[in-house]
């Protein structure tokens, strides 16, 4: 019976793996005609997996597979966010790809496989599990980035992602090997024990390399260079995916690693995280000002947001971890909404447009879409009463409570710079006069997701008790 319990704990991953493999068969034998069906089946699989997350075994906190894997409240929280984002990215895809010959069936399969990898990442309590999960996610991502085969930018994006991400994986592996060499174990708990009686030079190096590798995955400055290019080149639904699910997974992984494995060496990594946070906030804000492509702008916005979330990690407390989780959840809602708004940007012939200038006067041609986009942008800028403010509030609160008030002051002052570029887009939408003709084509699913996201951003405060409880429980499982 005990072995059955083990499998109950990884039920989400099992469902996703089986579904991915089965759908791969469907894709292989039926071909692209089945793309729509495969997509919906994948969404159904994600929904079932989501239901499986409510099983006690999945969030009870048991370590399985000989201490390689842990299914606790923390991983459950992250998985719920990841699956939701992934499902949304599958739903919105077909319309985008319709223009270049239709969606291929493998799209949803790759996202499912990526989800399996991400589930492993957030549940990993051993460097080996971590690396396997990370690579599974990455391999799916490289293919997704270059999914529009005939588009040069997409191919370039995939290649760039592959090369740079491999480099980062190399750095990460090197750090892991150093830490293993100096600690004698690959398990997080074992490393923590080794670090608890003083941290050696070799361990410090390992820790720095690991953080550098992970900073690449979450695109924190100075390891962010790939982000704007990849986000711009990848097909927009894929960009929406990159900006949400893998980011949450990598971030959750970083948090678990920092708190559980490196917890005793916090004094060594805290300053690194503070630097990453401030650099991301400032560079993400300043570099975004001159962007004229909306996808690049949102890429810098995601860098900027990662910086804010890192402030919560820098606090290193349970409150800090809870604030990071809440931040990620709110960030995913806002970012998904924004990218789906970007997906609606088509000229009268149905071609995708990406320049910010083409948004001019959107508020007059498509007031509903403009209002939603405006809500997301104001929310990303952290202006109350929108939910984005609450995300920032929580991380700054955690920082102040942990005695990092100066960090909070600098971070929040820099957030005013980022408000400027969001404001620039809002200005284009609301203040400028319409120039081009926008496609008036509306899709019920896209609009549905946008509406849900906008509603969450507007009335999100009502979910605060729930969110606070869930994120606190998730954070508590790390301490």
């Amino acid at each position: 019976m005990e072995s059955l319990g083990v499998f109950a704990s990884v039920l989400p991953e099992i469902i996703l793996s089986v579904a991915a493999l089965a759908l791969l068969m469907v894709a292989a034998f039926v071909g692209d005609r089945a793309a729509g069906l495969v997509g919906w089946l994948a969404v159904a699989a994600l929904a079932v997996t989501g239901l499986a997350l409510t099983l006690p075994a999945v969030h009870a906190g048991g370590e399985i597979f000989g201490g390689l894997y842990r299914a606790d409240a923390f991983s459950t929280f992250a998985k719920a966010v990841i699956y939701t984002a992934a499902a949304a990215c599958i739903i919105v895809a077909p319309r985008f790809f319709a223009k270049d010959g239709g969606l291929r069936a493998e799209y949803a399969v790759l996202i499912l496989l990526s989800c399996v990898g991400m589930s492993m990442m957030v549940s990993a309590v051993d460097f080996i599990t971590l690396y396997v999960g990370l690579e599974l996610t990455n391999l799916s991502s490289y293919v997704l980035a270059s999914f529009t085969r005939r588009d040069l930018r997409s191919a370039e994006s995939g290649l760039k992602y592959f090369v740079l991400s491999s480099l980062a994986s190399g750095i990460l592996l090197y750090g892991m090997s150093l830490l293993y060499g100096f600690s004698g174990t690959t398990s997080f708990a074992g490393v923590a024990t080794a670090l608890s009686d003083g941290i050696s030079m070799g361990q410090t190096f390992g820790l720095v390399f690991i953080l550098a590798g992970l900073a690449f995955k979450i695109s924190a400055v100075p390891f962010h260079m790939w982000t704007p290019d990849v986000y711009e080149g990848a097909p927009t639904p894929v960009t929406a995916f990159f900006a949400t699910a893998p980011k949450v997974a990598a971030f959750a992984l970083t948090v678990r690693m920092a708190i559980v494995a490196m917890g005793p060496g916090m004094s060594s990594w805290q300053q690194i995280v503070i630097f990453l946070a401030l650099a991301s906030i400032v560079l993400g804000a300043v570099a975004a000002i001159t962007q004229d492509n909306i996808k690049r702008l949102l890429a810098y916005s995601s860098i900027n947001n990662v910086g804010f979330a890192l402030i919560g990690l820098a606090a290193g407390t349970a409150d800090g971890v809870a604030s990071v989780l809440s931040y990620l959840l709110i960030y995913v809602v806002m970012t998904l909404g924004s990218f789906i708004c970007v997906l609606q940007m088509r000229d009268s012939e149905g071609n995708q447009v990406e320049s910010i200038a083409s948004l001019a006067g959107l508020s007059q041609t498509r007031p509903g879409l403009a209002a939603a986009f405006g809500i997301f942008l104001f929310s990303l800028a952290g202006i109350p009463p929108l939910f984005g403010f609450w995300a920032k509030f929580l991380v700054f609160d955690a920082a102040v409570a942990a005695g990092l008030a100066p960090l909070a002051v600098v971070g929040i002052a820099a957030s005013v710079i980022s408000a400027f570029y969001y404001l620039k887009v809002i200005k284009t939408i609301y203040l400028d006069t319409p120039t081009g003709q926008f496609s008036t084509e509306r899709n019920a699913f896209d609009y549905g997701i946008i509406t849900v996201c906008a509603a969450v951003v507007v009335v999100g405060y009502l979910f605060n008790p729930l969110l606070g409880e869930a994120s606190a429980a998730a954070a508590a499982s790390l301490f």
Partner: protein, 516 residues
């Protein structure tokens, strides 16, 4: 407890909110009527609020309290007002109705969104004054940026984009620093309740930092010299109703912030920094009055005069005594009405000639006698002529600060003299002189709609000037409580009339002519 059987403050927030949402989905004319209906309903609710407000001596400080503990997790839906908030809410609901009336014909572009923005603004302004939870206050306070940004940016003048950016970013930068101070306070005191925090004694050294955080926000909002530069731009570019609400209510949020947060929560820091406030205010009074004197644009002139008037408010606030605080509140209320009315006076002739340049006018007394009369009344009120609202406030504020420092009182009084200079100079150039320009000759006198908007304003300005007790009475107890709270920190004044007259160690000779 609530004197009424229903949550009136929540209702006052819900009515304009519902109106705002409705305005987005209907035609222009319906949106106007919805906005008018919503603001009128809120004015009536406001009057009900005032009438039922318990002004007796043993009345509780906070009335109409509503509390949904923990509705938003870390913070609560906590509303409640004291006399100070009551008066500012009355100012808001009164001016909002007038704002809708002002925009009735002059706004023809995207009317539904315009009315929605104004109604949303009303929700937020009432929320700021009624909030009893620190975070709830911040949400209302900061959210005002969004509608105001859109009002200036969409319906503003030629340079509206620049002005809207400047307004937004300036105010945001100030506010976020206040947020950090709030986070610290919440951690330290373990509560977000404003009434509790008002009686919580923060460590004296920490108070300074917290005070500076709040100061960053309120000084920008007020606005105080030298962070006032967003105001002239915002006023000049905003549509008339936007200017009315900006000068009438939004600036008052800064003063309200000082009186609600800085003074009671950080009395010692307030005393330490009182001279910073005085110095900035003295510069503001003299400098902005001189700048106002040379303006060619009417709106800019009134905007600079606002900065000067707000400086009188800040010196009154930091006088740490009953007169000073009462005076500051009266100046805020009076200035809210008078500057709003003056912006309307500008708006009315702008609608006819489409220029704000003073030199383009002249001789309006001949063809617009009713306008000239009302404009004269508001000009005089702005100068602070006895019998008008501003006289009461300015006199009290200056009397209050005189007890702390005669120098400050002296310098600030020159501002009032210069105020007479620039306002009368403006009036002379616009209204008097020969009626020579053909297009000016063609201007018609006030329409019944305009008259209906101006006359109530004029009536209230005179009411406040002649019988200020109606407005002072609800606030008296709260101000007395505030004075008692800050008593220990009060800086020693240089004027001897501040001393207790029963104090036998002070001889009558020393007191001189002041005593009798």
């Amino acid at each position: 407890m609530n004197q009424l059987d229903f949550p009136i403050l929540s209702l006052m927030l819900a009515v304009p909110m519902a109106g705002a949402i409705a305005c987005l989905f209907v035609s222009a004319q319906s949106a106007r009527w919805i906005a008018l209906g919503a603001t009128l309903a809120n004015l009536l609710l406001g009057i009900l609020l005032w009438v039922t407000f318990d002004q007796s001596v043993d009345a509780p400080m906070w009335q109409f309290v509503e509390l949904q503990q923990g509705l938003f997790g870390r913070f609560s839906w906590a509303l409640g007002i004291d006399g100070i908030a009551l008066m500012l809410i009355m100012l808001t609901v009164f001016l909002m109705l007038i704002c809708i009336g002002v925009s009735w014909e002059s706004v023809q572009k995207r009317v539904g969104e315009y009315m929605a923005a104004f109604l949303f603004m009303e929700v937020l302004m009432i929320g700021v004054f009624a909030a009893q939870d620190l975070i709830l206050f911040y949400v209302f306070f900061e959210a005002g940026l969004i509608p105001m940004y859109l009002i200036i940016g969409i319906w503003g003048g030629a340079e509206r984009v620049y002005a809207s950016y400047k307004f937004f970013l300036y105010t945001l930068l100030g506010s976020v620093l206040m947020l950090i101070a709030m986070l610290w306070m919440i951690r330290d005191a373990g509560t977000t309740s404003i009434p509790v925090l008002m009686n919580y004694d923060f460590d004296v050294d920490v108070q300074k930092w917290l005070w500076l955080g709040f100061f960053a926000s309120f000084a920008v909002k007020m606005p105080m010299w030298p962070v006032h530069t967003w105001l002239p731009d915002a006023h000049v570019q905003a549509p008339t109703a936007g200017s009315v609400i900006l000068a009438g209510v939004l600036l008052k949020m800064g003063g309200y912030g000082f009186i609600r947060f800085s003074l009671p929560m950080f009395p010692y820091a307030s005393a330490d920094f009182a001279w910073l406030i005085f110095a900035l205010s003295m510069v503001a009074v003299v400098y902005t009055s001189l700048v106002a004197l040379v303006q060619k644009d009417m709106k800019k002139l009134i905007a600079y005069s606002s900065v000067a008037h707000m400086a009188i408010v800040t010196v009154g606030l930091f006088a740490f005594n009953q007169q000073g605080l009462e005076g500051a509140m009266m100046v805020m209320l009076g200035h809210g009405l008078v500057s709003g009315a003056l912006f309307m006076c500008v708006g009315i002739i702008y609608d006819r000639l489409h220029t704000r340049e003073i030199d383009r006018y002249g001789g309006l007394a001949i063809n617009m006698p009713r306008y000239a009369l009302l404009f004269l009344l508001f000009t005089m009120a702005s100068i602070g002529l006895p019998g008008t609202s501003n006289f009461v406030g300015e006199l009290l504020a200056l009397m209050g600060v005189y007890q702390i420092s005669s120098i400050v009182a002296l310098v600030c009084t020159t501002g009032i003299i210069m105020g007479a200079g620039y306002m009368l100079y403006l009036y002379r150039r616009v209204v008097f002189g020969d009626l020579v320009k053909d297009d000016v000759k063609a201007m018609t006198d006030l329409s019944p709609r305009e008259l209906a908007l101006m006359v109530p304003l004029a009536a209230v300005v005179l009411w406040m000037g002649v019988y200020p007790e109606s407005f002072l009475a609800p606030m008296r107890g709260d101000i007395a409580a505030l004075v008692a709270r800050t008593e220990a920190a009060r800086p020693a004044g240089d004027a001897k009339i501040a001393m207790d007259r029963t104090d036998k160690t002070v001889s009558h000779a020393e007191l001189g002519g002041e005593s009798h």
